[in-house]
């Protein structure tokens, strides 16, 4: 199977998209960006291939006559089980590293109670994991770092004792270990983990007929064995210069976002991308070719990272901010122009008795206001308008944006794809198809 890969190495997240001839997206993968770019890319790509194989698996099962199981439910369960498996693999490694860390000389005095606490924490996390990955459960994040971290911190604060094993110490161990875990390429592939995942689903679902089980297993083996042949890859994004690609295989993220948005919505004229550290306003023509753009510079205020800071400040996940803000109908004006100061302002306002929801709504509005000014600078908002990047997942931001666009530019069709965060990677994959460079990815 001949495939094209687009990789978007963003400041916060790294995205990969696998595309088949004829512009069909087969798989998408995402992971948090981290200190090792190669690892981040490799993981995003591996995730995209997992997704690809799931797609193929889905197709294969669909083509099977005589299956009696409910395919959608089954696949959902399977995917959840697969994710759980991945999580457990990583958790196991994290536990190993942490406990190793705890044995280092500097913790000698507390090593015994420390190891005890760590063991307790990790077995507790492992115990909670199946529930975290249950179908329909709300996760704070998709990334291991946050998922494990959140639970870890909560347990740490419960188990810490100021005089024996202080909280700060436990936090420090986690901070140290997670870097190591993140920068190690664990084998989390479809090929290696699908068997365990299937086993768990089969075990949980006793109603499954033997025949179905066999068919499923056969398809899984087939998909596992399928050769995925990458013809060409193109990289883009904030960190693109550091991608292990030759120059011809690198495209500016502005062009990629433009093309990606055009692919998703063919009538797109204006694109707004709000990522972690940059915001871009892009105008494209009928072919998805960029005609003008503006982006922020040298200052990260008003970008997705603002939300990250605030989420940390409130001890919430970024996903939770939007829904909270939506509970407010009154937005507080946020004055800070600095990401870091916004945290301080939030604290101050909370102390002054303002409601968290109102402050959050004000903060979302502030971010969108900045974007509005970039949009204006790039040439305004034409029909149709497509909102991309991670912040497009945030309903409060979307809501503020819709209001301001309507007020200032009138009615516009506003497109937001659930895959908006992949727009840059989609554009890159399209470029990979357009150019005929050989597959020179290492």
């Amino acid at each position: 199977m001949k495939l094209y890969v687009g990789i978007d190495l963003g400041s916060t997240t790294t995205k990969a998209v696998v595309m088949q001839d004829g512009n069909v997206i087969l798989g998408k993968g995402i992971t948090n960006s981290r200190s090792n770019y190669d690892t981040a890319c490799a993981i995003a790509k591996s995730e995209a291939f997992i997704d690809t194989r799931f797609t193929l698996f889905h197709q294969a099962l669909e083509a099977m006559p005589g299956l009696s199981l409910d395919l959608e439910t089954f696949l959902q369960d399977l995917e959840a089980s697969f994710r759980l498996q991945q999580f457990l693999n990583q958790l196991e490694y994290l536990a190993e590293v942490s406990i190793g860390e705890a044995q280092s000389a500097r913790y000698r005095k507390v090593s015994a109670p420390l190891a005890e606490r760590l063991n307790a924490i990790f077995s507790s996390i492992a115990g909670q994991a199946p529930e975290m990955f249950g179908v329909g459960s709300i996760k704070r994040s998709e990334f291991f770092r946050d998922l494990a971290g959140n639970t870890y911190m909560r347990l740490a604060s419960e188990l810490a004792e100021p005089d024996a094993v202080p909280y700060d110490l436990l936090v420090n161990i986690y901070d140290k270990s997670i870097i190591k875990v993140e920068n190690k390429l664990l084998d989390l592939t479809f090929e290696s983990n699908i068997a365990k995942a299937l086993k768990r689903v089969f075990a949980a679902n006793r109603a499954l007929s033997k025949a179905d089980q066999q068919t499923v297993q056969r398809c899984a083996d087939e998909v596992t064995a399928t050769e995925l042949d990458v013809v060409n890859s193109v990289g883009t994004g904030y960190g693109r210069a550091r991608l292990p690609f030759p120059k011809e295989q690198i495209r500016s993220e502005i062009l990629c976002h433009g093309l990606g948005a055009h692919y998703m919505y063919a009538n797109t004229a204006t694109v707004l991308d709000i990522g972690g550290q940059d915001t871009k306003a892009i105008q494209v023509d009928r072919d998805g070719i960029v005609t003008s753009f503006q982006m922020n510079d040298r200052c990260a205020a008003g970008c997705g990272r603002d939300l990250g800071y605030i989420a940390d400040e409130l001890n919430l996940g970024v996903q939770e901010l939007g829904p909270l803000a939506m509970q407010s109908n009154r937005s507080v004006r946020i004055n800070s122009t600095c990401t870091v100061f916004a945290g301080a302002e939030l604290r101050e306002r909370l102390n002054n008795g303002e409601r968290r929801e109102d402050i959050l709504q004000g903060l979302h509005r502030a971010i969108i206001l900045r974007a509005m000014s970039l949009l204006a600078r790039s040439g305004g908002v034409s029909d149709e308008f497509t909102f991309t990047g991670g912040v497009a997942n945030n309903e409060a931001a979307v809501n503020a944006l819709k209001g301001l666009i309507e007020e200032n530019y009138g009615r516009r069709t506003i497109n937001i794809s659930p895959n908006s965060i992949f727009t840059g990677a989609v554009g890159a994959a399209l470029f990979a198809q357009k150019t005929d460079a050989p597959a020179a990815v290492h």
Binding site: S252, I254, L255, D287, V290, T291, S292, F293, D297, R298
Partner: protein
């Protein structure tokens, strides 16, 4: 702008050598004013009255802006600016001023490495920019030198009216000339001024021919990065001198030869082989990383065919010539016509005209943090020019001489994206 490219790899043309000598000689004269008893007049580039100064033969002009930019190219300004800020100058204001004040505090050693003489007169003709006025107020405090003020009214309506011109001529007669006479101890001789003006006109003709040559494909010159060298003599201490006439004649011949040979412009890395993009650029360049900045263009095959910066000291290509028949009026008209004294609609019209006449496929603004005179309104200029020419414009930001505001990686990122966009567009259209 008055310094020739000094890369060994590039063969020195005659014009480059002439310019170099002219400048070296000027600094030498400045170095020796104590012995020769000559008097020094500080003045600015846009709207400078070089012929008027030079008709008093014991007066020598000094241009603080040129010192600042030359110091910028020599990477001395970063420290000067910090020093000035330490003295209470704001981070927000024009860095030319701060670079000048910083140099003064460091002993007034000029870019040539020799001490610059203090001014005997500050000739404040502040065409197209209010900061010039503040600048000499500041220098007046520093040097306690007298100031001759020439207020050039702005072309707010896009035209020059008689009452504007009369005002200028009166100021020349009643304020500027008397002060020049007083400082020099010589009587003003209008015939001498006429002679100077006639020579100016000759050089101006040749300069225009050089600038116009960029209409050829490939363009034999880069009208921005190369342009800043070409305008050096005529915008500064040499307009009206025989040296300038000779320089521009030589330059014109060289450029015409390049046209005949179908050659592209010379860059610090040798001759440009392939002209991929033809640009019109608005705004001054950055001086502290001038080479690095230029390289970002020629590496991509981008040639600037016309620029507004090469018109800050006079819009000769639009027909203005110094006129010996009306010496004072012509000086007034010259001042009115400098690029930043044009109102925004005229600037938009001029830039659009450049895009069309020079067959440009790209229009780029380098917005300078320091310079409100240029920068305030550029985003509208961008949009208007885009609309009128149908070309997608590009926008980058930097500063003249403050290295803190030149972010190479950032500008490169933007330029790359911009060129990719132009390329994609021309391919898409094909």
């Amino acid at each position: 702008m008055t310094q020739a490219p000094a890369t060994d790899a590039v063969q020195k043309e005659r014009s480059m050598i002439l310019q170099k000598e002219m400048i070296a000689d000027h600094y030498k004269q400045l170095e020796h004013v104590a012995e020769t008893g000559r008097k020094v007049v500080y003045t600015f580039v846009p709207g400078n009255l070089n012929e008027l100064i030079r008709c008093f033969d014991n007066l020598l002009p000094v241009h603080p802006e040129i010192n600042a930019l030359q110091n910028g190219m020599r990477k001395r300004t970063g420290k000067f600016i910090l020093d000035a800020e330490k003295q209470g100058h704001s981070e927000d204001v024009c860095t030319y001023v701060k670079a000048d004040i910083g140099m003064l505090r460091a002993g007034n050693i000029g870019p040539a490495g020799t001490k610059l003489p203090n001014p005997d007169l500050l000739l404040l003709s502040y065409t197209g920019c209010f900061t010039f006025m503040k600048w000499f107020e500041l220098l007046r405090e520093e040097y306690k030198a007298p100031v001759a003020m020439l207020h050039t009214p702005y072309q707010g309506d896009g035209t020059i009216s008689d009452h504007m011109r009369n005002y200028m001529v009166k100021q020349l007669r009643e304020e500027v000339i008397p002060k020049l006479e007083q400082i020099s101890g010589q009587k003003f001789d209008i015939d001498k001024l006429r002679e100077m003006l006639a020579r100016s006109r000759e050089a101006e003709n040749d300069l225009v021919a050089v600038l116009e040559s960029a209409k050829h494909r490939p363009s034999p010159i880069d009208a921005y990065f190369g342009g800043v060298y070409y305008i050096g003599p005529i915008f500064s201490a040499f307009r009206g001198t025989a040296g300038a006439v000779e320089y521009y004649r030589a330059l014109r011949e060289e450029v015409e030869a390049r046209v005949a040979a179908g050659k592209g412009p010379i860059t610090p890395d040798g001759e440009l082989k392939e002209e991929k993009y033809r640009l019109v650029v608005e705004g001054p360049p950055n001086w502290t990383s001038f080479r690095e900045f230029w390289k970002m263009f020629y590496d991509e095959g981008a040639v600037v065919v016309a620029s507004s910066y090469s018109k800050v000291g006079g819009l000769y290509d639009q027909g203005f010539r110094h006129d010996p028949e009306h010496p004072l009026e012509t000086l007034a008209d010259y001042c009115f016509g400098c690029y930043t004294n044009l109102n925004l609609p005229s600037r938009v019209a001029l830039l659009s005209k450049y895009v069309q006449e020079f067959h440009a496929d790209a229009f780029l603004i380098n917005s300078i943090k320091s310079c409100n005179s240029f920068s305030a309104g550029q985003l509208l200029i961008l949009r208007e020019v885009e609309e009128r020419t149908g070309i997608a414009g590009g926008f980058i930001e930097s500063d003249l001489v403050d290295p803190r505001y030149f972010s190479g990686a950032n500008i490169k990122n933007r330029l790359e994206s911009y060129f990719q966009m132009i390329m994609q567009k021309s391919k898409g259209a094909a």
